[in-house]
């Protein structure tokens, strides 16, 4: 039966080709958007697993300095149940190039360097130490982009910094971070004594959610995000992002599916007499259904393969180009390939259902009289 299905699908090459192209474009969109979503998912998950143990303390209004100072760090440290606390500032590596996936500069107290980056390990060199000034520990993407080794110089905000350490690859935002001493960062960016965020670490056995509330209550002018809240917020953001990206891709794929339905309806109408002949020869309803659905599924599979191929090629090319800028935007995962392939096949078959039903339900004589 497969040979008949393939013969039918290839009989009208241009029309079949256009239909497959329609599906391929839909699946292409699904793969590209899905790869972007997968990358953000993974980056978020890894970033979460690396930093989710701390309570984040922000100024009550806004997160860009103003409210938080080194004095607040001392206040946070005094809250019962807090084991340790440190403040840091984060800012964009290049002005106007911040945002998701962009490089960041993180000013951290040198003595807390290892704690702030925990559990990230170094590929080479050392962490920042007290007394360091224009020294930096950089993530693997930054090291790759600027071809840095320990001892090399890198310019940050018009100042030369010497690389003293390079982090191992984490798959998280740390790969795009250059850490520098907090005081140097505050001078460099005119932050004075201000901080972007304070990280508080709970003592063992202390409920982090309750401690976060206690910090908010005890330290005036602060708001907190506990690890649990952070996970919830991140999941919600990811869900919204995934829904937006995947739905736009699904829309594209559904349009591809409609083109299959159109092609199959045309094909069924053109082949009505042929179905009549087959029925006169003893073909059963299931044979006609199989033939028509098989043809739709083949177009779906072919469109899926082309779409996945095109999507993979584009995301690979974009990732290669973006990596020169220290960014990595797309991640093709096995589950994305499986979902895209299944979706292409199912959309092909579902779109073929109505035409197949029309073909199968005709009486042989009615079909033979056609055309």
């Amino acid at each position: 039966m497969l040979d008949i299905i393939i013969r039918n699908a290839t009989q009208r090459k241009v029309r079949t080709g256009l239909t497959i192209t329609g599906i391929a474009l839909g699946i292409f969109a699904l793969v590209v958007m899905g790869a972007m979503s997968e990358n953000f998912n993974q980056t978020f998950e890894k970033s979460m697993s690396l930093t989710s143990e701390s309570i984040r303390v922000f100024p009550e209004i806004g997160v860009f300095g103003g409210g938080l100072t080194s004095g607040k760090v001392a206040e946070v440290k005094r809250v019962p149940g807090v084991k340790d606390a440190y403040g840091l500032i984060t800012t964009s590596f290049e002005e106007g190039h911040g945002g998701m996936g962009g490089k960041q500069v993180m000013g951290i107290p040198p003595e807390k360097s290892q704690l702030a980056l925990n559990p990230v390990k170094l590929k080479s060199g050392r962490f920042l130490q007290p007394g360091d000034k224009y020294l930096t520990v950089v993530g693997t993407s930054i090291a790759g982009e600027f071809d840095l080794q320990v001892g090399n110089k890198i310019e940050i905000h018009d100042k030369n910094f010497t690389v003293v350490g390079i982090m191992e690859y984490t798959g998280s935002f740390f790969d795009n971070v250059a850490t520098i001493p907090l005081e140097t960062a505050q001078d460099l960016y005119n932050f004075d004594n201000s901080l972007s965020t304070i990280f508080a670490i709970a003592q063992e056995g202390v409920d982090e959610d309750l401690l976060a509330k206690r910090i908010e209550f005890s330290v005036k002018g602060t708001s907190t995000i506990s690890p649990t809240e952070l996970r919830e917020q991140a999941s919600q953001s990811l869900l919204i992002f995934s829904v937006i990206t995947i739905s736009s891709a699904l829309l594209a794929a559904i349009i591809g599916g409609l083109s299959v339905m159109n092609t199959m309806l045309m094909s069924v109408i053109e082949r009505t007499r042929e179905f009549g002949i087959l029925k006169a020869m003893g073909a059963e309803t299931k044979d006609i259904l199989l033939m028509t659905l098989g043809e739709a599924a083949i177009m779906g599979v072919a469109g899926g393969l082309f779409g996945i191929g095109l999507g993979s090629a584009l995301t690979y090319a974009l990732n290669s180009w973006l990596s020169t800028k220290g960014m990595f935007l797309f991640l093709i995962t096995p589950r994305l390939i499986v979902v895209a392939m299944l979706f292409a096949t199912i959309i092909g078959m579902v779109s073929g259902l109505y035409p197949a039903y029309r073909a199968a339900k005709m009486s042989p004589m009615e079909a033979l009289r056609h055309g």
């Binding site: 039966m1 013969r7 006169a280 003893g282 044979d287 009486s363 042989p364």
Partner: protein, 225 residues
């Protein structure tokens, strides 16, 4: 000729609706055909000959009456089981051949056996042998568009014979061929008759009817006396 009855038709009627107007294409036709008999059905256009063939061939449901093929009342058989009867008991030859243009001659004949669980090897062997017996041994791989009308009709007959049916139903099989091809087609049907297969031919051609064992005349949906 065997004396046993292969086809029995009792009070067969078919009414179509043309909008809201009923059209009685067949009115209470009764007849019986014996195994190995070659019967011609004649009558003017629109008299109901093709409708009778469609009902006997299980291609359409009768409004009333019975069609009994080889002892089975096919009018009582549920729709889903009719394809099996068409496969095992009946073979069709159409006036316009109705070959699938994308398939070769052997592909068209082989296709008829696909729905009968015949192995591919056997399907191809049988199709080749049938086509060779009908003088198309050198035309096996030709597409219908590369064959003459007579050759296409012979492929169509080979296809009808592929599942070795008890009854071959031929609707105007010589309507579009020259007299030489007509003689050849009659010869093929006579050889089927000689092998004990029943052949029912709808025709306008008295010459074809003269080669049959008997002629049934249909006028206005009923059998003429």
């Amino acid at each position: 000729m065997d004396d046993s009855t292969i086809l029995e038709v009792e009070g067969l009627s078919k009414t179509y609706m043309q909008g809201k107007i009923p059209v009685h294409a067949l009115r209470g036709v009764s007849l019986s055909v014996k195994k190995g008999e070659m019967v011609a059905i004649m009558g003017p256009s629109g008299s109901g000959k093709s409708t009778l063939m469609a009902l006997v061939g299980c291609l359409e449901k009768a409004t009333s009456g019975k069609v009994i093929i080889d002892g089975v009342n096919v009018t009582d058989v549920p729709e889903r089981r009719l394809p099996r009867i068409r496969r095992e008991k009946l073979g069709f030859v159409f006036q316009h051949y109705n070959l699938l243009t994308a398939l070769s001659a052997i592909g068209n004949v082989e296709l008829a056996m696909r729905f009968s669980n015949v192995s591919k090897r056997e399907r191809l062997d049988r199709a080749q042998s049938l086509l060779e017996n009908l003088g198309l041994g050198d035309r096996l791989k030709h597409k219908p568009t590369e064959l003459s009308g007579g050759e296409q009709q012979r492929v169509s007959i080979a296809r009808a014979m592929a599942n070795r049916p008890a009854i071959v139903l031929a609707d105007e099989p010589t309507g579009e061929v020259d007299s030489k091809t007509r003689d050849a087609i009659i010869g093929i049907f006579e050889s089927l008759r000689a092998r004990g297969q029943t052949v029912i031919i709808v025709t306008h051609d008295q010459y074809v009817a003269d080669h049959c064992d008997r002629t049934i005349r249909i006028i206005d949906g009923g059998i003429a006396d």
